[in-house]
């Protein structure tokens, strides 16, 4: 049984990634592993992430997951980054099991962004 490996959300996020880019001078999370590279950069206002952008090198699920992450957290509280849920993103994007590792790399990147924000606000 072969179906489209990309559900409509993956296709949409991959085709029109509205959050691709950089926040100049923002906080940065970066990770590379599993053959993918991910970078998130954020502008913070108080506790709020006002802009969240990504760069990604990897398969369509990786790119879509990065876009999904930006949509999820932009406009929210930085503290919510702790709530990053791999299960939800795996489900929303129908990520195949064998790509779980890549979503964990995204989790690491998000965590590294949270740390960077904490470092910024701590100083």
């Amino acid at each position: 049984m072969i179906v489209d490996p990309y559900n409509s959300r993956v296709r949409e996020y991959f085709t029109n990634p509205m959050h691709c880019g950089d926040v100049a001078g923002g906080a940065i999370g970066y990770f590379e592993d599993q053959g993918i590279r991910l970078r998130l950069s954020a502008a913070i206002d108080g506790d709020t992430i006002t802009r969240l952008r990504f760069h990604a090198w990897g398969c369509p699920h990786t790119i879509a997951a990065a876009e999904a992450t930006c949509r999820r957290f932009e406009g929210g509280a930085a503290a919510e980054l702790e709530d990053f849920e791999t299960g939800q993103i795996m489900k929303d994007l129908a990520v195949p099991i064998e790509k779980t590792g890549r979503i964990l790399v995204l989790e690491d990147t998000v965590r590294s962004l949270g740390q960077a924000i904490r470092d910024l606000t701590d100083t």
């Binding site: 072969i2 991959f14 990634p17 590279r37 970078r39 760069h55 090198w57 990897g58």
Partner: protein, 387 residues
């Protein structure tokens, strides 16, 4: 999957659409000669005559004797029958076999299976452009070598082996020589009367014929063991009711190919040049396989620092291949490109464009622009290397 997308099909090496004349002939045979060619009545004999006519057409394309073909279900079966059939037939004289690392899976996996049964296989390495130097081949043959199998045109890169020289060496050493001709027959001139080849695998669906039928050329005097058992069809070498309409379509496809071979090659060469010209200035682009003297219907290119799976998706509605058609469901990097010295990451970015009779200059133009656009987009998406 965007049910309304109209594909731009540049995957002719995976399979071709059925030629119009072929479809018509098959319809005629289905209507008027659907009888079992083995049946002992006049209607059955009419079907048998249709089969004979098709063998004649195939024989004319290849300058062979119509009696030298066995009908099979495709090149996979032909390869299995040829390689296992000849190896087993001759195993009492020796169990050493020779092949190339960059053969199609339908050859590689057959030799692997024979290794498990106690045969010894020498896996030859091609040069970085994919060619097997005849000296290397010659050096691999031993006293106990019984069979060598070398493909003519490679399905991933289009590199064409020097079958004439390799066959001559094989023959001079009394080694049965099998050629996987799935990507060459009907696409370039192949003259069995001139080539020192004992066995050749062919499949109809790569030359605008139907899927589900192929042939094995067995030169007069070459003995092989049957791999399937059943009715007395085909001298007991390959039993089963002959699919007379598919065979008729295969024959017709061969006849059509014979008339257009040269024109096809000329057109394809121009289209391939257009394609390569359109993208060759891209940063980090390289051709997999030889740039010259390859089969002009195939262009395999890699590009540095672009991820393959995303590239394929970004290319939609372009239909092209990564890896070879027959194992493209796996995400493994192509073993063929690895054997040419490419890294895993390089191999994964490889795209095989394969062009065919319906390919137009406009399609190539769109392919160029889609490829350039996809590369630019993915490079924009990627973090800077120094991030």
């Amino acid at each position: 999957m965007s049910a309304d997308l109209e594909p731009i099909y540049l995957d002719y090496a995976a399979t071709t659409p059925v030629d119009g004349r072929v479809a018509e002939r098959m319809r005629e045979v289905q209507d008027r000669f659907y009888f079992n060619p083995s049946s002992n009545h006049f209607a059955g004999r009419r079907s048998a005559a249709v089969v004979d006519a098709a063998a004649g057409q195939l024989a004319r394309l290849l300058n062979a004797d119509p009696a030298e073909f066995l009908w099979t279900s495709g090149a996979t079966e032909s390869n299995n029958l040829a390689i296992i059939g000849a190896a087993k037939q001759r195993q009492h004289s020796g169990r050493h076999l020779v092949t190339l690392r960059t053969e199609h899976k339908a050859v590689v996996d057959v030799f692997r299976a024979l290794e498990k049964q106690g045969f010894e296989v020498s896996w030859l390495e091609p040069d970085p452009d994919g060619r097997l130097p005849p000296e290397r081949f010659q050096a691999a043959l031993r006293e106990d070598t019984q069979l060598a199998s070398i493909m003519q045109t490679n399905n991933e890169t289009g590199v064409v082996q020097d079958i004439q020289s390799l066959g001559a060496i094989s023959r001079s050493r009394g080694v049965v020589f099998h050629v996987d001709g799935a990507q060459s027959v009907g696409k370039m001139p192949v003259d069995m009367a001139a080539l020192p080849v004992d066995l050749m695998s062919i499949t109809a669906h790569k030359l605008y014929g139907p899927k589900g039928v192929g042939a094995l050329y067995v030169a007069n005097g070459t003995a092989i063991e049957a791999q399937m058992f059943g009715g007395g069809q085909q001298r007991r070498l390959r039993p089963g009711t002959l699919p007379v309409d598919l065979i008729a379509g295969f024959g017709e496809a061969a006849a059509v190919a014979a008339t257009r071979l040269e024109d096809d090659l000329t057109r394809l060469a121009a289209l391939k040049a257009q394609l390569l010209e359109g993208i060759r200035d891209l940063d980090g682009l390289y051709v997999n396989g030889p740039e010259h003297d390859a089969y002009p219907g195939i262009l395999n290119v890699g590009i540095e620092d672009v991820e393959g799976e995303s590239l394929l998706l970004a290319l939609e509605p372009l239909c092209v291949a990564t890896g070879s058609a027959c194992n493209s469901q796996s995400q493994e990097p192509s073993y063929v490109l690895r054997a040419l010295g490419r890294s895993d990451i390089q191999a994964q970015s490889a795209i095989r464009f394969s062009l065919g009779r319906q390919t137009t200059r406009e399609e190539i133009e769109r392919a160029v622009s889609l490829y350039r656009g996809a590369v630019a987009k993915l490079r924009d998406l990627a973090p800077a290397r120094t991030a």
